[in-house]
């Protein structure tokens, strides 16, 4: 132990300047994230669809770009729960699907305003998340995973039969196996037709108002998630993941924080689900099926659970493979198998996913070059 470091005056001054530097560095980081996100979101459609060489390989189209962003929002929120808090839910389709159906019903029976659809869809998802979180978080570990799966399946089966119509009437609620088809959209804010193009930047195509609308929410998702991670909650989440018992024993109400993590992730899923309805103008019954829960799990882990941007890449890769690779000759039929295999490889060999790949490669390289032994 160093005796000199304990003179009060010296340490406090040293600590304050160090603190200030760190504060500035991090605040800087937040705006960096924001700027990078904006640039990325603006450039994405162009890169995906029209850029020379790149787009030729990617064969992107606008509808897919929008879909990628929607799932990215879902995955970012899911990562807060899985990657940061360490809780694996297999039932998040419950929030995605419920928000999708809710906003669809809003558009069919109330108003086609996209903003109201997202708002109400999300509010309902949050309420559901509070309820399901309260019920499933009483036990940890595998019980949580199984219970979330069970509740989501329960909702699926209810939606396929009992809730197909509003109780006591013939008005479609979920419309059962055929999916909800009565979605009708109004122009955004009463002014912007969603399938009209936004003004271009530097003469290059950016996207339609539809894409823009979704991109705004994606931007919000990224910066809000980043802020949450930098807040006390972010630290508590990570602590819970690393050592739940110890977190309780420093005096934190672990259960409440877990519930908040669950609700926050449900909120993101709700926004994404509502946007999905706006995007596809149709809600398939499969939105509530375990496969949808499984997809967001794969996307998150593939992209890199425990990182902010990883899940975005995970969503992009997954959807690209599902929609583009599946149409390619010879390997097309194997798209799902390929994703499954890559997923398994990631879990076994590259636990940090795509986002952690550069580090993994660096470590592997270091290991290989050290195999020669010391001189």
């Amino acid at each position: 132990m160093s005796d000199d470091a304990r003179t009060d005056g010296g340490t406090t001054v040293k600590n304050t300047t160090a603190l200030r530097e760190r504060y500035d560095a991090l605040k800087g980081e937040e705006s960096t994230v924001a700027v990078v996100s904006i640039i990325g979101l603006l450039a994405f459609p162009w890169l995906f669809i029209e850029a020379p060489v790149v787009s030729g390989f990617l064969k992107g189209y606008e509808s897919l770009a929008s879909l990628i962003l929607i799932w990215a929002i879902f995955a970012i929120g899911f990562d807060l729960l899985l990657g940061y808090t360490g809780l694996l839910s297999f039932g998040h389709a419950a929030f995605w699907g419920t928000a999708a159906y809710a906003s669809a019903n809003v558009s069919a029976y109330l108003t086609g305003s996209p903003l109201v659809m997202v708002l109400l869809g999300t509010v309902i998802a949050v309420g559901l998340a509070w309820l399901l979180g309260y019920l499933t978080l009483r036990r940890g570990g595998i019980y949580f995973s199984i219970l979330t799966l069970a509740f989501a399946q329960m909702m699926f089966y209810m939606s396929s039969s009992v809730l197909a119509t509003y109780p006591g009437s013939k008005t479609p609620l979920t419309n059962g196996e055929n999916g909800f088809t009565g979605v009708s959209l109004d122009p955004l804010l009463g002014m912007f037709e969603l399938n009209r193009e936004m003004p271009s930047i530097l003469g290059e195509f950016v996207g339609t108002w539809h894409y823009g609308f979704i991109a705004v929410f994606t931007f919000l998702a990224i910066v809000i998630a980043y802020r949450i991670l930098n807040s006390p909650y972010g630290l508590v989440f990570k602590a819970i993941r690393e050592n739940e018992q110890r977190t309780e024993f420093v005096g934190l109400n672990v259960w409440r924080y877990k519930l908040m993590s669950f609700i926050i992730s449900g909120t993101f899923a709700g926004v994404a689900g509502s946007l999905f309805t706006i995007h596809s103008q149709y809600v398939p019954l499969s939105s509530l099926y375990w496969t949808s829960s499984g997809e967001v799990v794969i996307m998150t882990v593939l992209g890199g659970a425990g990182s902010l941007f990883g899940p975005i890449f995970g969503a992009a890769v997954y959807l690209w493979v599902e929609n583009i690779v599946s149409g390619m000759p010879n390997i097309g039929a194997f798209w799902h198998l390929i994703l499954g295999l890559v997923f398994v490889v990631v879990i076994v060999l590259v636990p940090d996913g795509i986002w952690g790949l550069p580090d993994a490669v660096r470590r592997a390289w270091g290991y290989i070059s050290n195999l020669g032994g010391d001189r």
Binding site: S231, P232, V236, E242, R246, F249, G251, L252, N253
Partner: protein
């Protein structure tokens, strides 16, 4: 008024009586050690105080108020800290984050909806974290990944986490288990220093008799769930019941 009172505490597991009508007071500012052969129920006692276990009967009072119905985190909030037997740290987090989580709990432990407030705005949290890291001598290693620390440092980190939650009473469950003599000595010195500096009350569960007899103000001897002797080190040393309990194993 004693800081911690155990009042006729009983703990039964099925038919097994792990804690048998234990009454014990811990006074503010003192260093009480609890010793006893293996299986005497020392850890059970600690777990009852921290509310990891429920008492079957009896009361436990801290600062005059009963704590037997509280949740573990509430007990910590009241001012009881525990240092674990194995270094119970947060492996993937940095040393700084390890201390910060405890400091956060100390400064802003009550649950609130502050998930949009930047952590760096809470300067008192990082101040407290740095102070406790400094106190255990880990300030230079703030950015290291906790899992990468050597075992001795992990134990110091463990203690700093317990300290950063600013406890009035610190329960230490065999803090020198598995340590080399040098590490043991420096840990003991550290504990002594902290007790002086921070005015802590310490309850220590230990097997190493040298330590126990050199640092304790009072010693309580547990055997088969009951207290068989209690008093100053000298009093306990001479007690025939204590010698019998240890059955000639340890030179007191």
């Amino acid at each position: 008024m004693p800081l911690l009172e155990l009042d006729d505490v009983v703990k039964e597991f099925g038919g097994l009586v792990a804690t048998d009508h234990v009454s014990l007071d811990v006074n503010e500012g003192e260093h009480l050690s609890i010793i006893g052969p293996n299986g005497a129920g020392k850890s059970t006692l600690i777990n009852l105080v921290t509310r990891m276990l429920d008492v079957t009967d009896g009361d436990i009072r801290f600062k005059g108020d009963s704590i037997v119905a509280l949740e573990p985190h509430e007990v910590v909030q009241r001012g009881i800290g525990k240092s674990f037997q194995t270094a119970s740290i947060f492996p993937e987090l940095t040393v700084e984050e390890n201390a910060e989580i405890a400091a956060l709990a100390a400064e802003h432990g009550e649950f609130r909806f502050n998930f949009l407030k930047h952590l760096r705005d809470y300067t008192e949290v990082s101040d407290l974290a740095h102070r406790t890291l400094d106190a255990v001598g880990l300030l230079e290693k703030v950015d290291r990944r906790a899992a990468d620390l050597p075992y001795g440092d992990k134990r110091r980190l463990e203690i700093s986490i317990a300290l950063a939650s600013e406890p009035d009473l610190l329960l230490m469950d065999e803090p020198t288990a598995g340590m080399s003599p040098e590490e043991t000595q420096s840990t003991v010195d550290l504990i002594e220093e902290l007790k002086e500096e921070l005015g802590l009350t310490i309850v220590l569960v230990e097997h190493d008799m040298e330590i126990v007899f050199s640092v304790s103000d009072r010693i309580a001897v547990l055997n088969r769930g009951e207290i068989i002797a209690e008093g100053t080190p000298d009093e306990v040393q001479g007690d025939p019941d204590v010698q019998e309990a240890y059955l000639g194993g340890v030179e007191l």
